[in-house]
């Protein structure tokens, strides 16, 4: 039937191919909208760098995630009124009808036992738990009005990194690498570094590619053992021997390509060559002993450890080498007060001592090397901690706070954000956001904006639906952008 219709349709399709009247922005956008059905077999490098939609403020990201969530009221968000009312029962309006992870009876307000002061030219408030942050006070953009929807670790962390509290979606690093590709030919575009012995709450999903292909999965690099899984040759295999083998392999594969003509075979030859180069470049970039002693001292890094200090230094080395997105996870910030290491007095002092020095060193180091302006640094947890004492441990000697999603502090630095700024406030007791609420999806939209994307148009189509990092939410927080 309808031979004419078929012709019409075919000509329409030809026309699609020949059409030229679309602006450049729309084209780049269209490329982003590409759908991967897993069936595509053409070879090329999906990680080749590509420009974003707008001119970007930041080219790369270092995300410092404090797994478990640090207590904002004992670090950045100073509440004298809460200190004054320390020990009083929590007002019913802030407790009744709400759900908390580990507190069921009416809790007592908990003023910070820490000493606060104002630092830098900008007079940013900070506690005595993070003395090294004073040196970078004027680089920071603190957001005191963060909110999230989730009050348990895993869903909150997944919401933060994937835009959805359930696993299965790509993480922020995957979206960024999908959108921008990688600047490095010899290194992965998205690297994850884990310290303090535990994987993040969301497991691999917190740095995963979700439904995107595995190109975009964060590659976990480690300071002990193989820095990347299987990057070391087997025992007894030296480089020349490996080279001999790969030369033969390439030759045999070229014969195969000649016989069967599939470009994927040629792509595979290229991937083996890249793997060979990675075997050199990854251990090289991961070897912090190449740094000067004074740099190691600045960070408090010690070669061979799996510490946050080492990972901060690695983050700089990776970004310098062209890695697009470096995700750090540091376990041990869940200050419930169930044991002395989770006490917001000495416990917090000890934990912060492993963190504030290397993080401050990282920001300074990026600044000195001229990298800070194009590198966005983000610091925070998956939610905040309550202005009251946690229920389970209320009778013990150890002082801790419960999970709190309604108001907490994160900070950004470099990468086009305003420096020396405090944005948004919680109320006088630290319960709800008083002004300029910033939801997780808003933070995500803002990060993507800094990298040159409209978060509503960075889209990936999967199983019949278009997905975004921000789901159907999020608005850019323009006041944060310099």
């Amino acid at each position: 039937m309808h031979a004419s219709v078929e012709q019409l349709q075919l000509s329409t399709r030809r026309h699609f191919l020949q059409r030229g009247g679309v602006g450049l922005g729309a084209m780049a956008l269209a490329a982003l909208n590409g759908e991967c059905q897993g069936a595509v077999s053409a070879p090329a490098n999906p990680l080749a760098p590509h420009p974003p939609q707008f001119s970007p403020r930041a080219k790369q990201v270092i995300y410092l995630h404090m797994t478990g969530s640090p207590p904002q009221l004992d670090l950045f968000d100073y509440k004298p009124e809460l200190v004054k009312r320390d020990g009083q029962p929590c007002p019913a309006e802030f407790f009744d009808g709400k759900r908390f992870a580990f507190t069921s009876a009416t809790p007592k307000l908990l003023g910070t036992p820490r000493t606060f002061g104002q630092y830098g030219d900008s007079g940013v408030w900070m506690s005595d738990a993070v003395p090294h942050f004073r040196e970078i006070a004027d680089e920071l953009c603190l957001v005191h009005s963060m909110t999230t929807d989730e009050f348990n670790h895993a869903p909150a962390e997944l919401l933060l990194f994937t835009g959805s509290p359930r696993s299965g979606r790509p993480s922020l690093g995957a979206w960024v690498t999908y959108g921008l590709g990688s600047e490095s030919e010899n290194l992965p575009g998205f690297v994850a570094l884990v310290s303090s012995g535990f994987q993040p709450n969301g497991g691999n999903s917190s740095f995963g590619s979700g439904f995107m292909p595995s190109h975009f999965h964060g590659v976990q690099c480690r300071s002990k053992g193989d820095p990347v899984l299987y990057v070391s040759d087997p025992e007894g295999m030296d480089r020349p021997l490996r080279r001999l083998g790969l030369d033969t392999l390439a030759e045999l594969n070229r014969m195969q390509a000649g016989e069967l003509g599939h470009p994927e075979t040629l792509a595979r030859i290229a991937q083996y060559e890249l793997a060979f180069r990675m075997q050199m470049s990854v251990p090289e970039v991961m070897d912090i002993s190449r740094e000067t002693q004074s740099t190691l001292d600045d960070y408090g890094a010690q070669p061979g450890e799996a510490s946050l200090a080492n990972n901060c230094l690695l983050a700089r080395r990776l970004v310098e080498a062209g890695v697009r997105y470096v995700q750090l996870f540091d376990w041990g910030w869940d200050f419930h007060g169930t044991n002395p290491s989770e006490d917001i007095r000495d416990g917090l002092t000890d934990k912060c001592a492993t963190m504030d020095k290397p993080v401050a060193a990282l920001v300074r180091d990026l600044r000195q090397r001229g990298l800070l302006d194009e590198t966005l640094v983000v610091w925070g947890g998956e939610f905040g901690r309550t202005p009251f004492r946690e229920g389970r441990t209320a009778a013990s000697d150890v002082i801790g706070r419960d999970h709190f999603p309604d108001a907490y502090t994160m900070w950004l630095a470099g990468g086009g954000v305003k420096a020396g700024m405090s944005y948004g406030t919680s109320d006088e007791l630290g319960f709800p956001v008083a002004d300029n609420r910033v939801h997780i999806h808003d933070l995500q939209a803002t990060i993507l904006r800094l990298l040159g994307f409209d978060h509503e148009q960075l889209i990936y189509r999967f199983q019949g639906r278009d997905y975004r990092l921000t789901d159907v939410h999020g608005k850019v927080v323009h006041p944060l952008i310099a």
């Binding site: 084209m27 059905q37 090329a44």
Partner: protein, 1014 residues
């Protein structure tokens, strides 16, 4: 979101041309369709992509009350007085006017959407209106009619598939490719049907069996192998989101492997797909379901369970039901239902209300996000089931042997009970001196008990008692007491209140031998006897009954006779740090009856304290049985009987599996629409239902069974199309409908609609016989074509949508691993059972709130089992398999990506699992070969099922020689290469040769031809 659909049709090819070559965004040219091209399908596609967002099925988003997705809606007179579509009159149709309007305010789509129709598209819409603007049902929902097979005079076709394919090719002026060579076909068939490469003997046999029936014979043989079920189960387990862990933050292990085994068996038994469907969705609702039918219902128990503290079970139960709805729709209906969870579907006519009607169908199973995964089905091994049959009669027989004693000893029992009419008592004794090893205090309290401060180390307490009058001690008792000052109220010092008494010594001038120790309770593994043996590791503890008082009774070998003024010394040694006693006291009994009294189980002495007339039947029975156990003549028959009973009672199932079980009527849940998908924000109540779009079941009760039956009802066209397409995709790499996950209006139309419909109708005609269907696919001439392709051909049709060459695409993660193990001879063919842990790198990390990510590798052949048996931990999937795109199985995976990355190269080059395979393969090559060339040939035959070409042979022999030469100077490196991790070489083997073969084998295992089907 709107730009996604826009770009999909229009922009991608342009973007490609100008932005560069990036494969993820590459689009095949639009698929050519059958000549019986459906105008309305094209129209629907244009309208769906450009108009439905505002003028589609979602009434919340609908503008100007216009809906263009139905004939009636499009032709209705609108409040504005216009009619969007006037059949036969495009010039009067407001749709066309608006599309063509030069006025930006009037033109559709509105300019700010960024969407715009081309002149050709508008022309197409106008032609459609001119021809009557018929709006037939979307192609995939349309009734399934068996198309006629094209009548072509050609030698090429083997079966019907080929006629449809050839018909298209002839129209396009193309020809099929020649048949692939015989050995490549053997390998392709074996990999596609069993996931494993063929043995060389099999290849040779097939090359010789080149008659017309040769292919059928090989196919039948392969379909008969148990490896067939293992291979095809993998695809289904992706859909079923099967994993060996429960998901979420701590991702604890989940025991559900019996379901995985059920799927393997179902494939091997060739269970028809309709039964396969019904058993999994509703096996429990069948009348008198079998064990296997219940196991099948674990399909929907593969949803995640959240056991993190403070989580709301109802929230995550609801999330699991949402997943069941979405998975059911995706697997059987090729439909994305997820959109409709929060709002009416924008493109396909599924309303939010209909979504929750489906939710209601699944909403009444018993499970509710519990950590123990109840309800569970216990599964017993054949041997156990035999015992369950044979033990009861055996017990009855033993009972009959015991029965005479029940009457004969009755009088003796009554007399015995008289002895215990009053229970023997003991009296508290107070120490005159107390010391301990640690420094902190021991305080004597008013009741004669001693409170000991916590110290932390191990400890030993020494007490002295001076007796003021003559005393005989038949039993010495230590009473441990709770105290509010102790952790967990004691009686011990450990955080939970426990203690361990590792040694107990008594001395009256000289040491006294203690013959027996009894306690009214002990923790498993911490028997009272441990307190009087010489072993400091064993001892008495009370975990499980903390915070209560307990008594340890010690019987000396001879009664202790003390004259007045004598000192009794007691030493309590406690060799576990922190596990020390916090509060206790001593008592002595001179009543000799006390010995027998403490020998009785505590339960029996308690019964003796009850007046005979007040005892329950159970108590009377227990007492009578106890007496039989101590009466000399009945002791043995009693023990035989009790032992048999105990064996039956102690039997534990081989495994358990979570299953679906419907709630009883009284407990049924109501289902409400969840506004914006939030389980706390409820709208109106809905009843179970199936979207109108799908074939609604006629049954009176709309439950899971009715839904399952409707899915595979012969009148339901969608499932057959979806399933036929899925098998096609598995064999050919790309579905006839490329978007195999979306058969809705946003999905792609089939490349060969007639062929798809013929295959779907054939699947139904075959009564859903999956093996017969696969046989049809792989015996076709279409399948048997050579995969060779020219550059031009590839550029025009990279995904082989025209089907004029053979399938060639990357193997799955499991196949790549299984193949390496198979060709090296390491692969274990053991089937079924608990998941196994092949070696993986130590990461030195723990999961958040969970256990180690590292695992101890399984021993023996379990290290070399097929990938389908590898423990699938969702939060940390087996690293080498996830590098090859194995999903974490948190949700249903409809198709896996097939990436090509440098990390994959690192796996197959360096992962010890693969290098071990290279070493094993090397030893076989060395053993088989008298010359290097022979060894290389053997390697090619094992790995690639063919002989090497002259050039290949030359290159590989040269590699061998070069490596051999280099390693001669490095014997240590050679030994490492040849033996780590596989182990020492066989006696007499030369390490340098073995190492050179290992390097060669490592390269063979990395050949492109090992990773792509040929």
């Amino acid at each position: 979101m709107r730009n996604g659909c826009f770009a999909k049709m229009v922009c991608i090819p342009i973007a490609l041309a100008l932005v560069g070559f990036r494969p993820l965004f590459v689009y095949a040219k639009p698929p050519a369709t059958d000549s019986t091209l459906d105008l309305s399908a094209a129209v629907r596609s244009i309208l769906s992509n450009h108009c439905f967002e505002c003028h589609g099925p979602d009434d919340a988003q609908r503008q100007a009350e216009l809906r263009l997705d139905s004939t009636r809606g499009a032709q209705l007179e609108l409040p504005s007085g216009y009619r969007a579509v006037v059949p036969g009159r495009p010039e009067e149709s407001e749709l066309i006017r608006r599309l063509r309007s030069p006025d930006e305010d009037l033109r559709m789509p509105p300019p700010e959407t960024g969407k715009r129709l081309s002149q050709d598209e508008i022309e197409l819409l106008a032609s459609w209106i001119r021809l009557g603007a018929e709006f037939p049902v979307h192609w995939s929902y349309r009734e399934l009619q068996r198309p006629e097979v094209p009548d072509i005079d050609s030698e090429w076709p083997t079966n019907e598939i080929d006629y449809f394919v050839l018909y298209r090719l002839q129209h396009l002026g193309m020809a099929p490719a020649p048949e692939v060579d015989r050995s490549a076909l053997a390998r392709r068939l074996a990999l596609d049907l069993t996931g494993l490469p063929p043995a060389w003997e099999e290849v040779e046999r097939f090359v010789d069996d080149d008659g017309p029936e040769g292919v059928s014979r090989l196919v039948d043989k392969l379909l008969d192998q148990s490896s067939y079920g293992e291979h095809w189960a993998r695809l289904w387990l992706d859909l079923a989101r099967y994993a060996d862990s429960a998901g979420y933050v701590d991702d604890p292990p989940r025991t559900i492997w019996a379901y995985r085994d059920w799927v393997i068996r179902a494939f091997n038994d060739n269970m028809p797909f309709d039964q396969f469907t019904i058993h999994q969705l509703a096996g429990d609702l069948l009348s008198e379901p079998t064990r296997e039918q219940l196991v099948a219902t674990a399909f929907h128990r593969n949803t995640l369970t959240n056991s993190e503290g403070g989580t709301n079970d109802e929230e995550f139960r609801s999330a699991a039901i949402v997943d069941r709805v979405n998975t059911t729709m995706a697997v059987w209906m090729g439909t994305t239902a997820a959109c409709a969870q929060c709002h009416n579907h924008k493109f396909d006519p599924i309303s939010q209300e209909e979504y929750f009607e489906l939710f209601a169908v699944f909403n009444n199973t018993e499970d509710h996000d519990r950590r123990d995964e109840q309800p569970l089905l216990e599964l017993w091994s054949d041997q156990q089931r035999e015992q369950q049959q044979t033990l009861p009669p055996e017990i009855a027989r033993l009972e009959s042997e015991l029965a005479p004693f029940r009457t004969s000893v009755r009088q003796a029992q009554i007399e015995w009970e008289q002895i215990w009419k009053t229970a023997p008592t003991s009296r508290v004794i107070v120490p005159t001196q107390m010391t301990r090893q640690a420094d902190s205090a021991m305080t004597l309290l008013n009741d004669g008990s001693i409170l000991v401060a916590r110290d932390g180390a191990t400890d030993a307490y020494q007490l002295k008692f001076v007796f003021s009058q003559d005393t005989t001690i038949n039993v010495l008792q230590l009473e441990t007491l709770p105290d509010d000052s102790l952790p967990g109220k004691g009686p011990g010092h450990n955080d939970d209140g426990n203690f361990v008494i590792t040694d107990f010594q008594v001395q009256i001038q000289r040491p006294v031998r203690l013959a027996e120790a009894h306690a009214d309770y002990n923790q498993g593994g911490f028997e009272p006897s441990g307190a009087i043996d010489a072993d400091a590791k064993t001892g008495w503890a009370i975990g499980g009954q903390l915070g209560k008082s307990h008594t340890l009774s010690l019987i000396p070998e001879q009664p202790l006779v003390l004259s007045a003024g004598t000192t009794l010394e007691v030493k309590i040694a406690q060799e576990y740090e922190y596990y020390t006693l916090g509060r206790f006291r001593f008592a002595v009994a001179d009543d000799p009856r006390m010995k027998d009294y403490v020998r009785m189980p505590a339960a029996i002495s308690r019964i003796l304290g009850v007046e005979p007339s007040q005892r329950s039947v159970q108590q009377a029975d227990d007492l009578a049985n106890y007496y039989l156990s101590i009466w000399p003549e009945s002791e043995e028959p009693y023990a035989r009987w009790a032992n048999a009973k105990q064996r039956l009672a102690d039997m534990t199932p081989e495994t358990t599996v979570p299953i679906a079980r419907e709630l009883p009527d009284a407990k049924r849940r109501k289902t409400h629409i969840q506004l914006r998908g939030n389980f706390l924000n409820l709208g109106k109540e809905v009843s179970p239902g199936v979207p109108d779009l799908f074939h609604a079941p006629g049954e009176e009760v709309l439950d899971r069974l009715a839904l399952a039956r409707s899915l595979v009802d012969a009148r339901n066209p969608l499932t057959a199309r979806v399933i036929a397409n899925r098998y096609w995709e598995a064999i050919f790499g790309v579905g006839l409908v490329r978007t195999s996950e979306d058969f809705g209006s946003q999905g792609e139309a089939p490349s060969h609609p007639q062929l798809l419909d013929w295959l779907a109708s054939e699947l139904v005609r075959l009564d859903w016989d999956v093996k017969a269907f696969l046989r049809l696919l792989v015996t076709s001439s279409t399948y048997r074509q050579s995969a060779a392709v020219t550059a031009e051909q590839f550029e025009n049709d990279p995904d082989n949508r025209h089907l004029n060459r053979g399938p060639r695409f990357r193997l799955s993660a499991e196949m790549i691993r299984d193949q390496a193990l198979a060709v090296s001879g390491l692969l274990s063919r053991k089937m079924y059972g608990p998941p196994v842990r092949p070696p993986q790198p130590e990461l030195g990390l723990s999961a958040a709130f969970g256990g180690d990510i590292d695992w101890t590798a399984s021993n023996g052949e379990d290290r070399y089992r097929r990938g389908i048996y590898t423990t699938w931990r969702r939060s940390n999937p087996y690293p080498s398999m996830s590098t090859f795109d194995a999903p974490n199985r948190e949700v249903c995976t409809l198709h896996r990506a097939r990436t090509n990355t440098p990390l994959q190269a690192l796996v197959t080059l360096n992962d010890p699992v693969y290098f071990e395979a290279a070493q094993a393969l090397a030893r076989r090559l060395a053993a088989a070969a008298s010359t290097t060339a022979d060894g290389v040939q053997e390697g090619y035959r094992r790995c690639l099922s063919r002989d090497p070409s002259e050039q290949e042979l030359e290159n590989v022999v040269q590699l061998y020689n070069q490596v051999h030469q280099r390693l001669q100077a490095k014997p240590e490196a050679a030994t490492q290469l040849a033996t780590d991790p596989l182990g020492p070489l066989p006696a007499g083997a030369d390490p340098v040769e073995a190492a050179a073969w290992t390097v060669v084998a490592n390269i063979l295992l990395n050949l492109d031809e090992m990773i792509l089907k040929r």
